[in-house]
Structure formats: C-alpha cells, structure tokens
Symmetry: C2
C-alpha cells in the first residue's frame, strides 16, 4: 500500500492519498480545492489512477477539491450517508467496505461534529478520523447539527474499541502533530480522559469558539461538490 | 521503533522524534525552540527518555530547541563535524553510527547547503535529509558557505545511491508534502533531473532568493545551542 498524508497550511487540513501498489488504483480523502494541482501532480508522478474522492464530512473550514478532481480525472465523489450532497456520485454508510485493489476501506460512521460524518479504517491498522477524534482533541459540535452526546458515544464506543495500536490520522491538526494511536488517545486525550457522557457534553457546550472563517462559503460550496456543475444524483 | 514527524507552521520546519520501543530511549532531530513544550509533552506521554538532540546543520531560519531541551532533560546536543558550535556536547561525522537502543542512526555528511551538514539514515530504511535533499527540491546554497557543486556531488553520489525505496524525510516542506522516496526524487526532482554538475551550479547560483527572515538572529543563536548557557566544550 502507498499511503501519504498531505497538509494544507492555510486551513491546517490533512488530505490522504491511498493507493494499491500493484493495481495503482488510488483514492483521496478530504482533498482541498487549493491543493488540487499538487495532488494531481503527485498522482501522475506515481503513475496512479484516481478512482475515488472520499469526504469524511461536509467541511465548514475549506472547500473540497472533489468537484475539480472529478472533472479532470472522472473519479467518483463519495460522501457519507445523509450528507445532502446531490452532486455526489454515491454515498457510503456505516459498515460498508470500499475496495481499492487489495486495500479495504471500511466506513465507521462517527457522528457528532456534524450529523453525517464517516471515519475510514484502512486495512484495519489505520483510521482516518476526519473531525471526530483529533490528536489530543476532537471536532467542535456547535454547528451543522453537531451533537456532543453522539460525539462521545461514537468516539468512545466505535473508535476507542479499535485495537490500541491502530494509527489515528485526523482531518486537522493545529499543533504540528500528524499521527497518534487509539491507545495514546484513550490515555491522553484531554477531551475524553476522566469525562463521562454528561461532563463531556457540558465541556463541548461551553467552548465558545468563533465560527470558522470560511463557513458561510464553504458549507454551501461543499454541498455542490466544491461549486462545480452537478454531474450525478445519489 | 517509534517514529514521529512534527511540523512547525511558522517556519515550515520538520522535527523528528525517534525512539526504541523497548528501551524507551529517544532522540529528536532538528527541534524548534517554540515547540519545546509540545515535544516534551509527547516524550513524557509516551514514557520516553530523551537521550540526544541531533542537528542536521546550523539553521538560518529558526532557533534550535536543543539548548532548552538539554537544560530540562540533560540530553546530549549533537552537531555535525565542523559546525563551530562550542556549546554542543559532541559532534558526529560522516559514517559514524549512533545507537539508540536497537536503532542505528548512521551519519551521511551531505554538504552544500552549509559547509557542515549531516543527513541521518535510520535503520537503513529512512533518511532524514535536513536541508540537502528536499521533496522535489533542495536547500539553497547561497549563504553560510554554501556550495552548489558539493550539494550536487553529495546528493547524487551519497543520497541517490541509497536503495530506491528508502523513505526521504526532509527538514522542511513548503507545499504540505511530508515524505518521498529516493526513487521518486531521482525521477521527479526538478533541481536534479536532466542536470549535470555545471548546469546544477548555474541553476543554484541564479535563484535570487531573499534572505530567510530570521537569519540575523538564528545563526548566532544556534551557534550558542539556541542561546542557553554554555554547558560543555567539544
């Protein structure tokens, strides 16, 4: 397997490139519109064919690169169930497995940051957690139908029950960390350590964060696959 | 082995944490002074003992965290041969091997960016290249006794002769890339592809880059291990 984590400096967003080394089929998870040229160049240099662009969720802080990538490569744009993105090629739901050559990408629905959100478990040993579980943190739950109770349930019951050595690759990091493990987060994530469901909810309801800078443009644009013409209906 | 790449957003610098999973001995390569708290917290959470802070070279764009880390942890500060850092605990030269538990860190002197610069080959499968070889680029050679001819010789004769699958971890990246391979760089690095020694030198002598913002403070501070009191003589 070929696996690359890439970073968008302006929005601190991680994009992931996953490819089967034999079949050369590739997927991008959470591409960023400003980085499409970088991502395409790498895909071309590595001799890969982009099959899928997967979203963990409808982002509020950046515009997806999926529409532009789909226009250029003909790949499928795939969003979580209930994401209300009419232009996506298809949606993918909890438990569903997407094959990429020999690689298995298993969807684990982890709601709470938004009301449609997937984590993706790659070959059982690494999980892309989007904005649910972050390194020593978690996504906020105060907009886009966020729900701190669901966040607590899905992180503790679906992610923290994965093997301790599972690598955690988040959708963002604001401190320069790139990867963690489930074991580390269970021990050291201050949002969860020593918290029960109700104290977690209380904490999340009192973060008083400002809105993301791009929310007003990013959410509607992402519901249009990054503002490109509608190509298919789910 | 435990291996973590961490990022400093302000200067686009990568710091590396390497540790033996059994003995828990750890080394940091190219720590950044503003990130010392982050790095120490991770070391503590992972139950590691910091034995070494290694520099690839005397940086012109950021101040090293080594002095501060040494003051707090008692680790050794190690610099390349001829680095003129009187406060370092020791220097390490081409071909020398540093053991970290079962891990072998082999020094490959790769001059050119500055006149004292080491790459570090970790257990033969990944190489930390500092500011010599970057992803699809290389360090500049126009200050601190830089030498484009030496850069060409050492990258092409010492790094490009490593096995193609060797992972390349640079000291910086400005486009959000984190890792490459020797094979990829031989094929796709525009600074080297199709260049002989003299056309490489000509290219490097005509980059006309502005000085790094922090050069006036960073170089003298780094010659003092990041401005902390002198603790040992090499």
């Amino acid at each position: 397997m070929l696996f690359r984590q890439m970073y968008d400096n302006e929005t601190s967003t991680y994009t992931y490139l996953i490819a089967d080394a034999n079949t050369k089929e590739a997927a991008l998870v959470d591409p960023v519109i400003e980085q499409v040229d970088r991502d395409l160049k790498l895909i071309q240099e590595l001799g890969l064919t982009l099959r899928y662009c997967l979203e963990t969720h409808i982002h509020a802080d950046h515009i997806t690169g999926t529409g532009k990538l789909r226009e250029i490569t003909g790949c499928d744009g795939i969003v979580p169930e209930n994401a209300r993105v009419a232009c996506a090629n298809r949606s993918i739901k909890d438990g569903e497995i997407l094959k990429l050559g020999e690689i298995e990408i298993k969807t684990i629905a982890t709601l709470g940051h938004t009301d449609s959100h997937n984590s993706y478990l790659i070959d059982r040993d690494r999980v892309l957690t989007g904005d649910s579980l972050l390194i020593r943190g978690c996504g906020r739950t105060d907009f886009q139908s966020g729900d701190p109770g669901l966040m607590f349930d899905h992180v503790t019951q679906k992610l923290f029950t994965l093997p301790d050595e599972t690598l955690v690759y988040p959708g963002h990091d604001y401190r320069g960390n790139q990867v963690s493990t489930i074991g580390e987060e269970k021990l050291h994530n201050p949002r969860f350590v020593g918290k029960d469901r109700s104290s977690f909810i209380e904490q999340m309801n009192n973060l008083n964060l400002p809105d993301p800078k791009k929310i007003a443009e990013a959410v509607p644009a992402n519901q249009q696959c990054g503002n490109t013409p509608i190509m298919a209906e789910v």
